[in-house]
Subunit: 146 residues, 4 copies
Amino acid sequence: MPYEFKITRRVEFSDTDMAGIVHYSNFFRYMETAEHAFFRSLGYSIVTKQVDPPVGWPRVRAECEYKSPLRFEDEVEVHMLVAEKKSKALTYLFRFHKLNANPRVEVATGRLTVVCVTHAQGKMSATTIPKSLADQIEIAPKELLA
Amino acid sequence: MPYEFKITRRVEFSDTDMAGIVHYSNFFRYMETAEHAFFRSLGYSIVTKQVDPPVGWPRVRAECEYKSPLRFEDEVEVHMLVAEKKSKALTYLFRFHKLNANPRVEVATGRLTVVCVTHAQGKMSATTIPKSLADQIEIAPKELLA
Amino acid sequence: MPYEFKITRRVEFSDTDMAGIVHYSNFFRYMETAEHAFFRSLGYSIVTKQVDPPVGWPRVRAECEYKSPLRFEDEVEVHMLVAEKKSKALTYLFRFHKLNANPRVEVATGRLTVVCVTHAQGKMSATTIPKSLADQIEIAPKELLA
Amino acid sequence: MPYEFKITRRVEFSDTDMAGIVHYSNFFRYMETAEHAFFRSLGYSIVTKQVDPPVGWPRVRAECEYKSPLRFEDEVEVHMLVAEKKSKALTYLFRFHKLNANPRVEVATGRLTVVCVTHAQGKMSATTIPKSLADQIEIAPKELLA
């Protein structure tokens, strides 16, 4: 579906900290990896020259709520959903589930707003999301975002 | 003052990504470093056995708004303020300023909520902030938080 | 085979630096991930309580030679081989190949020596690799290590 | 002296892993930070347009020997020495000392070879170190490298 994507990853040793759990900053790396896989699923790289002029996607807002820790070798599903779609910006919702639990448990939720920019003379400026890409991206149904 | 702390750091090469700017996840590492320096300024380590039983401070909520990028070798001031103080939790506000700009410019703001926990039999549970520590921490004046 | 293991991973955005390539320190994270997958393939976690007393594997020597850069979204195969096996230590050889090249190209080689330790009273000391584990690990054939 | 540089840094929480010690890959980040500070001490940025054409310094070889762990809030001195100087490459030696020990203790040594390159049409090629920079860099005295 053009409004969501799921990736699964295994927690690596270097993702953990001395508290024995995934360092909280790494959830933001995990979110981004799901976003980039979503773009690939649409036939695009997030770092793309497939549109003219090339666009980039700097992050303007990021947040995460942590409910339960992730540990080394845990399997985590990162479920990305498109929560908002504006002419120049997208907002994603993320749900993190630990899969090696029975039943699987939601360990965190996240939210990320990114803006579409072009670069000219070393300066970024917000731009309309290229139509070829925007046409492929839908907002997720309300019930999935609740 | 027992309601704020400032650190200055220089952006390292490994903090940057292929977009040529500090990766957005690293602002959360910077926040935490300011928090830990604040604790040291009170005579405590965030990983402390100075209280009995030992307490830890897992993060339960983190957010950041990005206004302007940071680049390699930029000098950034991270100003931490205590925004909320509950019996078992603290919320900090962070302001990031790029110092090698004239005038200095606010590049990001952040917010972090941490909860005081003890560990027993491998399980964390929220606990009242030890009095010796809580007594030293004040909420910042409203005008600084606005 | 109990003397090698291969993993494939895709370069993530946060693995890159402002030079547009994977930061050189991340090759060491990649090596370790292959090592840990090798252990899992033997039925063990590198962080194991499956042996009594539990053992750990601190790194005592690490090296990497870089031949060609890796970039965002490249697919890299990390091929781990057991190069040396002593009573208390293992040395691995690693070959990194970029798969999305035709023909695939070796971009780096690495070498890692780890030592088996137990912890007692907060002190690590080298110990003989537990027999149940050591019996499963072989040194790779010479021609593969050349 | 134009053949060495020392930096001191405090181990951050996010530098540690679940073993409670600095993750071995981070020693390579620490090395690089000392190198870049050395360049700044000479009046250059490692990412420089101060020479024409601009040059970069990709790593071609890196190694580290680990003798004793570093832990959260340890103060570590990274002492960088120029060990070799060729027309197109430099090799540095690094000594890591934990300062909050009495006496201070050497916890690791490292070695890093970097090559001077220019970029043309998206391709890197090794180039002679610009004279203005090369003239400022000396090889450390033998007794310091032993």
